[in-house]
Symmetry: C2
Subunit: 356 residues, 2 copies
Amino acid sequence: MSAIITLFYRMDLAFFVILTLLSGGVQAYDYLQPLPSQPQIPADNPQSKAKIALGKQLFFDTRLSKDGTLSCNSCHNLAAGGDDDGSVGKISQGKLKRSAPGLWNVGHMSVYYWDSRATSLETQAADHILDPAVMGMSSEEALIARFSAIPGYAKEFSNAFSGSKALNLKNIARAIASFERTLNTPDSRFDQYIQGKESILTKQEKRGIQLFNDVGCLACHFGGNFAGPAPGPALKMGDGFYELFPNHMGSHYDKKYDLVADLGLYHITLNPADKRLWRVPSMRNIVLTAPYFHNGSVASLEEAVRVMAKTQLQKELDEKEVMDIVAFLKTLTGEIPEITLPQLPDTEGLSLLTKN
Amino acid sequence: MSAIITLFYRMDLAFFVILTLLSGGVQAYDYLQPLPSQPQIPADNPQSKAKIALGKQLFFDTRLSKDGTLSCNSCHNLAAGGDDDGSVGKISQGKLKRSAPGLWNVGHMSVYYWDSRATSLETQAADHILDPAVMGMSSEEALIARFSAIPGYAKEFSNAFSGSKALNLKNIARAIASFERTLNTPDSRFDQYIQGKESILTKQEKRGIQLFNDVGCLACHFGGNFAGPAPGPALKMGDGFYELFPNHMGSHYDKKYDLVADLGLYHITLNPADKRLWRVPSMRNIVLTAPYFHNGSVASLEEAVRVMAKTQLQKELDEKEVMDIVAFLKTLTGEIPEITLPQLPDTEGLSLLTKN
């Protein structure tokens, strides 16, 4: 299935390249788009103020994890790029082997997890709560028993959702996803440029855009979120954009950065065709989410660009090319929205996490 | 020394009781005070906007910890009572055996740590960064080397402090302490009551105040922060208020809640007279900081009140008395100030925590 989708997008890309050539264009600017003003909102989870406010509380609530130590924000740190900044696996005490992807603009992705195994933010959030390697709640029943004991939440779930049993895993995930869909970073210098403010980018940054196309990066990192096709009318939500990584095996990077041990989507599907298939990550705010790759093995963006050129496109970039592309990527940092720390509903005078 | 100070305060209390009796008063309302509008500010660390803003960033910055997993906020969670909510030791992977004290109104304390070993917030913050059981930075040099590599901080330290080498451990601690001194929660229902709004408390809550005095709790938990003497003209900053806990050993609570294994201040001074000496904790926002005691062994405030009456005052409270005192303690929850999540200075395109 994923192979078919990959093929489909590659055909799409081929048409694009042919059309670009026919029209005499050398710049693939049609493939470059500003960040849409809003992510697509799923029909069964419309945004509401109450739901977003509830989702923000849940996002910061460590009681979602079995031992009360981890909130969503522990790994997707909204004070620092929306990711875990080099502490891969340490927060989860070695249980997680993958770097927490940056969360800004996540509503513009069409698949979730590095291995693209979830097709909605709602699924991703619900899975994380029950995953023994992440938050580790033993069951939905245990989760609901704990949260039912927090008086403030009962009221907020009733406000945010209809129905008598509003406090359930599905609605917890819906609220978190609704909050996450507000985490967008518009107005990057690139966005201003692509919308007509030509002078805002330097010559080097513009060379970087051209190189990003010419080298081949844009073939996968295209669209408003630079992560392949976004959900939209032409694509069903959940249709993802997978790529082989490494595409060309055998470079010294394979060993140096341990790039082939983790087989990506294959670990979920056990389908040999899915070996080393990964979601195309977004390039937006990419300078805020070092270290790079699914295993967080590469500390710098310069090196990540070198690795990608070699492993995906069999190209060796010279230092000027690397610096030009990085200069362009730095223009993709948007305006981070102001977030007020929520105050979480309290079980007054009682700890739910202590036996005695 | 601590024994002398304890004696001094007990004499102080004796005078108070005598004076109260002489004046015919039965209510110890002189010992009940509203939260002062501001904590005392040390002369060598005046507050400034730049320093507070910098301190807020540092407070939320996990790069203060060796492996990049812990910020101050990880254990003193400002979204949830300013403490660690029952996850004692788990955040530190078993290295810490004590519950993180709540942080609200911390500037009104005169000593720090459960065992009162630090006499300023600045010392506490600096110690935590280098403590192997907490943030575990190997040395001040390692800390400064890491933070010097974060361009945004260099500028902010220059703005907040004078001198050419503004980025040092002392100033990091000063900035964090300055931010912490803004973490005050005024206008609790109790504060409104004590300032004349008699009708704001229920009969039960007022009975609780009277009981809190009559049972003897107020002997230690007095003053604006209900934690003994605050720093002030009569007392030098750093003069603390220690108490034996358990004061009366031998109740079944000793074993049930493991109250005598940890010897408090003794572990620091090795002076036998300091065995089981502990700081008097604040009662403000006490319902937000379950579980209770230095080891977080008691889940509920009701039980904590029972334990304290027995171990400190050799009294057995009936259930009505317990509920009355708890009702009063619930009036001590103040207004939590709104905190905007800071955006931390970034090492753009580079992780400081990854080797490659």
